[in-house]
Symmetry: C2
Subunit: 418 residues, 2 copies
């Protein structure tokens, strides 16, 4: 299974399976997802035994405690995998949805109908639960999935692949509709990324290194998420309590994730009153502050920020702080250093709220709410397969709809073109 020949066979089989899957009913797909959930729970011991083999391997390879933590399938991981699959089963099926209908003067009726994309390859790191989450979402949207987890999770992913196959088989769906690449070899990924004939989309999930590797080596379109350098701009009309609450939530509720705030922009007229307030709370919460010249003058304890701070995603309890002269400077700063991910304004000014919404070019733009809401579940899309920071096909959190395309359906009575 290590040569490109078999990877290509795998992809070809996925293509064939995707054609069958596209024709399955919603009921069939939901039954299969619930079966997957049942099997995950029923075979928890087997999954955890295989997972222990991965953990031992990780120890011998000297992987970090954080990596091993992410790799570990606990009892809670089992329950959350199963719950996730049941939740996806309950989401509306996007396939065959008619998103628009209109009529033409010659009597033709035109519809746009959602269809599956086809075959989706997911390339990810470490966490074995991604295998189930990603397979569940792809299958529900009628797509075949080719899954390539981190090499350190190989045994865990193999047993999960087995469970998926069993669920597919017991519900009469094609076995090749979800396949896990069963080898550690990185060349398997490089080979996979050439198969544009069989694979419609690649979604890499992981660090910037993995994502750049996929983008640079792929002939297949890639939906990618480079990084989240998220800003909160506190305008001088902001309610101070609201601004404080939003800033604290955006920074400390879960600092290691992509939608956490990395840079706080404060209107100069608000700085004298607001900066000491937010600095005190942040420092109490263990956040290191790195300030621009003006904020350092106001709060002498602050570490001076360098040019390298502004475009940095800390993913940690560190916050850069900049005092700006107003909307223009705030928007220019976000344009210059931001990552088109998530940016928020706190304001009571109608015009500025409108302008921020229109002009900030990010996948999620918020007024008076925490950046932490950039998440498929929080926005009401259901589970998400990732967040796209490029605009082609999808921009922002990607739920089931983003795993589909639309085709035109034309209903006529013999119309011809003149």
């Amino acid at each position: 299974m290590t040569d490109s020949f078999t990877i290509s066979d795998m992809a070809k089989a996925a293509r064939a399976a995707s054609r069958k899957l596209a024709k399955c009913s919603t009921n069939q797909k939901n039954t299969m997802l619930r079966k997957m959930a049942d099997l995950v729970e029923a075979q928890a011991d087997r999954i955890r035994a295989e997972n222990r083999r991965d953990i031992e391997y990780a120890h011998t390879k000297g992987l970090s405690a954080a990596m091993i933590d992410r790799l570990t399938v606990s009892g809670a991981t089992i329950l959350s995998m199963a719950a996730g699959l049941r939740e996806v089963a309950m989401l509306p099926d996007p396939v065959s949805e008619i998103t628009r209908v209109w009529n033409r003067p010659n009597g033709l009726q035109i519809c746009k109908m959602r269809i599956p994309l086809g075959v989706i390859a997911i390339i990810y790191e470490s966490r074995p639960n991604v295998t189930m989450d990603a397979a569940g979402l792809c299958l529900k949207a009628g797509n075949a999935a080719i899954l390539r987890g981190g090499s350190e999770a190989l045994h865990s992913n193999r047993v999960l692949a087995d469970i998926i196959r069993q669920a597919l088989s017991e519900t009469g769906l094609p076995l090749e509709a979800a396949q896990v690449i069963p080898v550690r070899d990185r060349s398997a990924v490089t080979d996979l990324l050439q198969l544009e004939e069989f694979i419609d989309l690649v979604i890499p999930r992981g660090g910037e290194g993995l994502i750049r590797f996929v983008v640079e080596n792929s002939r297949i379109p890639v939906l990618k998420h480079y990084k989240g350098v998220c800003h909160v701009f506190v305008d001088d009309t902001a309610d101070s309590d609201m601004a404080l609450s939003i800033c604290m939530n955006a920074k400390v509720q879960r600092p290691g994730v992509c939608n956490a705030m990395e840079t706080l922009l404060v209107h100069q007229s608000m700085a004298t009153s607001f900066l000491p307030l937010v600095a005190e709370s942040m420092q109490k919460a263990g956040v290191e502050l790195r300030g621009c010249d003006v904020s350092c003058r106001m709060l002498p304890g602050m570490i001076p920020a360098t040019e390298a701070d502004w475009p940095t995603e800390y993913n940690d309890l560190i916050l850069s702080v900049k005092v700006v002269s107003g909307m223009d400077e705030a928007i220019t700063h976000i344009e210059t250093y931001g990552s088109s991910h998530t940016d928020a304004i706190v304001t009571r000014d109608y015009e500025r709220a409108r302008r921020f919404v229109r002009e900030v070019d990010s996948s999620v733009v918020l007024v008076n709410a925490s950046t932490r809401f950039n998440d498929g579940n929080q926005l009401g899309l259901g589970a998400e397969i990732g967040i796209s920071t490029t605009k082609l096909h999808a921009f922002g959190p990607m739920g089931l709809e983003e795993l589909t395309a639309t085709k035109f359906v034309v209903m006529g009575d013999g119309q011809i073109r003149f």
Copy 2:
């Protein structure tokens, strides 16, 4: 202007211009489009003089008569360029359109808002009118455009670029919002295709060679249209007159285009009555017929089709004909040899119509209508910038909406995440 440095400067300037353009009002953009149209008419003599230089160059290079015909800007071309621009000015502006709004239990209001994609590069062959069509559509959707026409149209495209710049300047829009690459050098294209930092999308328009070159050399996402191998399946319940009229229209109304029928599939129970009928009309219209074994036995004059015929886009008065045992074989044939472009069924059977619509995986699927309707104008989208045969981002004819993305806008009252 031949080194990659200047191509990169051009792209960087386009990025900056796209940010300004994204903030322009609909009125500003429409005024500019009408100004472009006025200037095209007012400077017709200058355009045609420069076009004659291209034609002379084409003659010295020994280009074919067909190529020279496509290169030529006639009085009618001038009028149609101007009319096209005025038509785009009248289309609704997709930018800032709210495509959906919903509320969350915590009181957040979520909207999806259309935004421009950013910078779009169009790489095309021969016809200088594409310069105006493509620039008009890109600008209306708030995108900056980098245009690279065929090297044989360089003088024509330079003068058109000048007119666009004049229109932008006279309406206060950024001059770099639409730029024509002013050199013949092909390396300019290769350089351009590396600039993923500044360019969001590449649309190649032309022959398969050009499209493959772009796909293979681009780091930027490509919206592509390989070929149109379009089918009409005449079911045995079809109305014979309707089937004949649709087949003739699909094949002969304009045989050189991508939405013309290339293969006719006839249900075996219909073949004895329908094949002689359609063969007679086709032969009268000068269409060469290449048939499967069964159809050759029925109509002895027919040329036997080989395996190479089925996936071929003739773009000519040639039609391959196959008798099929029913829906299953018809759909399998389309799956095997089709190009996901345009496929039609002629039927009076409700279930078969439903099944064809669901199962045929093409950008436009028609029931009882000619394949020639796969066209932005015919489907009611307004002018189109091309037809995509891959599913990512857009599938089928691409109008103004397909030149946009959507972002999430979240309106809150201080909500934080728990």
